[in-house]
Amino acid sequence: MLDLSPGRRPAAPGSAGSRRASRQKPRARRAGRARWAGWLFVAPALAMYGLFVLRPLGLTIQYSLYQWDGIGPSTWAGLGNYTTVFTDPALLAIIGNAFKLIVAFSVVPVLLGLAVAVVIRRISTSRLALTARTVLFLPQVIPLVAAGIAWSWLLSSTGVVNQFLSAIGLGGITRAWLGDFSTALPAVGLIGAWVLVGLCTVLLMSGMTKIDPSLYEAARIDGAGLWREFTAVTLPSIRQEIAVCVTVTVIAALASFDIVYISTQGGPGDATMVPGLEIYELAFSHRQVGLASALAVVLIVVVLACVLPIQRLARKGGAQ
C-alpha cells in the first residue's frame, strides 16, 4: 500500500498540552459522544450505498429465484434459473469466454509489463521513460468505448492491421478479425490487452524503482545471473504491484462489457459474448429478468472467488 498521508502541517489552533490534564474528564465524555456522532457522518454515504448498491444486490438475488418478463406477474422458480446457467451449453460457453479473456486482459499485460519494466529499469528516470509514462497511460484515460471504435476500425478488413500484414508478406491471413468466428475473441482480447498493458507496465515500473539497488549488488556479488537476479530480487520486491495488476485486470476481463458491446455486440454468433453483455441482453432484450439475475449473481461470485485468493496471497507475502 502506498502511504498517502500528507506532510504533517501544524494545523491545530493553539494546542496547549498543559491545559489538557485538568480537563481530562469532560473531554473523555465528549469524545465518547463524538464517537457516536460518527454515525451522522457515515449516514449519507451509507444511505446512498444502501439504496443504490445493497438494495439492488438483494433484489438481484430475489429476482434470480423467479421467472419474470419485467412487466407481468412473476412466478417462483426456485433454483431453476441457476440450473439453467450451469447446464445450458450456450451460457456455459459465455462464462468460459470470460475466463478465456483473462489470458489476453491479464496474463499478457502482466507478463509483457514485467518484461518491459525489467528491460527499462535502468532508464526508468530518463526523459524518455517519463514521456512513456504519460503516453502509456492514454488508454486508461479515454472511454473504453472510444478504444473499441478505434480498434474495430484497425481490425476491419481494410484496416491498418491487414495493411501491415500484407506489407510484411502475410497477405494470406488477412481477414475481418472481429467478424471471423475463430479470431473474434482473440481480437477482442487484443483490444483489452492494449488498454491494460500500459497500466501494468507503469505500475510495475514504479514498483521496481523502489527496490534498494544494494540488493542487486549483493546478488551480483553472489554470482547470480540475470534470471536468478530477477526471481530472487525483483519478483519478491514487487509482489504487491503484481497482485494489484492481476486483480485489476482479472476484474476487467470477467466483467468486460464496453469493449465487447462496441466492437462485436457479442458476435459473430455468440463467439465473443461475455456474461456482462449477456446479462444486459437477457434482461432488456429477451425480457428474461430471472435468468439475467441468476447470471449476475454467478458473475459476482466468480469475481469474488478469483480476486480474494489473489489478495490473500499478496498479503501473506507482504507479512514475511
Partner: protein, 274 residues
C-alpha cells in the same frame, strides 16, 4: 560497460515500440477522420486532401455542444457529493472510530469488487419506480452509491493515519466534531481528496453501462454513452465516426494532459489501493 549500454539501447527501442503501438489507434482515427465523408477508406494513409470539415460536420451531427453540457452536469452532480460524503464516512470510520464502525466498513468492502452489471437490472426498475428514467438523475444518483465502496475505502485509508494529537488538542479548545472535521482534518486530507476527485471525474465521464441502460436520449448521457449512440447512427460513415470519436476524446485528453502528473499518481495509487 558495453553490456549495460546495449541494455539501455534495447530498453529505449522497446519503450518506443510500445509507445508507437499505444498511439497507433489515435493516429489511425485522425488519418481516417480526414478522408472524404461517406467514403470507405483503407488502412493508414494521409489523405491527399484532408477534410478538416468532417470535424465540424461530426460536431453538429452529434450535437457535441449539448453532449458536453450533459457530461459536465452529470460530473457536477456526482463528483462533489461523492467526495464529500465519502470523506465524512472515511473520517468517522477511520478517525472517530465510531462504535460499529468496523462492521460498516466491512459492509462497504463488500461492494469493492462488485461489477456494475451485477446490479444493473434491479437498478433499472428502482430508477423507474422513482420516475427518474431518462433523466440525468438516473445516472447521477446510482453512480454516487456505486462509487461509495472505493471512495470510503480510499478516504478511510487516509484518516487511519491522521494524527490523533491534533484532535485531542482541538477538543481541549472546545471544537465540535463538525468543526474538527471541516477546519482541521479536511485541509490535511487534501492530497487524498484531490486524487479521489480525479479518479471519480474520470470514471463518471467514461461511464457507459449506466448511460445506455438508464437514459435513452443521448443528449442526456455521459460522453461515453453518447458515443455508443453515435456509433449506432453513423456506424457506416467511417470518416465521420472517427471524427466524432476524436472530438469526444478531446475533453478527457485535455484534462489529462493538464493534470498529467496528478492523474498518473492518482491512477497508480487508485489501483494500488483498490
Amino acid at each position: 560497460v558495453i553490456g549495460s549500454r546495449r541494455e539501455v539501447i534495447s530498453g529505449r527501442v522497446l519503450l518506443i515500440v510500445l509507445m508507437a503501438v499505444t498511439v497507433l489507434p489515435f493516429v489511425s482515427l485522425l488519418t481516417t477522420a480526414l478522408q472524404p465523408s461517406g467514403t470507405y477508406p483503407s488502412g493508414l494513409a494521409w489523405p491527399a486532401h484532408p477534410q478538416w470539415g468532417n470535424f465540424t460536420q461530426a460536431f453538429e451531427a452529434a450535437q457535441m455542444g449539448r453532449l458536453l453540457e450533459s457530461s459536465v452536469l452529470i460530473v457536477a452532480g456526482v463528483v462533489p457529493v461523492s467526495v464529500l460524503i465519502a470523506t465524512m464516512a472515511g473520517f468517522a470510520i477511520g478517525h472517530l472510530r465510531m462504535p460499529g464502525g468496523r462492521v460498516v466498513f466491512l459492509l462497504f468492502l463488500l461492494g469493492l469488487t462488485l461489477p456494475f452489471e451485477g446490479v444493473i437490472t434491479p437498478l433499472y426498475y428502482e430508477v423507474q419506480g422513482m420516475g427518474l428514467l431518462n433523466t440525468r438523475w438516473a445516472i447521477i444518483l446510482p453512480l454516487i452509491g456505486l462509487f461509495m465502496p472505493f471512495s470510503v475505502y480510499w478516504m478511510r485509508a487516509h484518516f487511519v493515519t491522521a494524527p490523533g494529537e491534533l484532535t485531542d488538542a482541538a477538543r481541549t479548545d472546545g471544537v465540535n466534531t463538525w468543526q474538527l472535521f471541516w477546519r482541521i482534518h479536511v485541509p490535511l486530507a487534501r492530497p487524498a481528496i484531490s486524487s479521489l476527485t480525479i479518479l471519480l471525474f474520470l470514471w463518471t465521464w467514461n461511464q457507459f453501462l449506466l448511460a445506455i441502460v438508464l437514459v435513452d436520449d443521448p443528449t442526456k448521457r455521459t460522453m461515453a454513452g453518447a458515443l455508443g449512440a453515435f456509433q449506432g447512427q453513423w456506424g457506416t460513415n467511417i470518416p465521420l465516426l472517427c471524427a466524432g470519436s476524436l472530438i469526444i476524446l478531446v475533453p478527457t485528453l485535455v484534462v489529462f494532459l493538464a493534470f498529467q502528473r496528478h492523474f498518473v499518481v492518482a491512477l497508480l495509487q487508485g489501483s494500488l489501493k483498490g
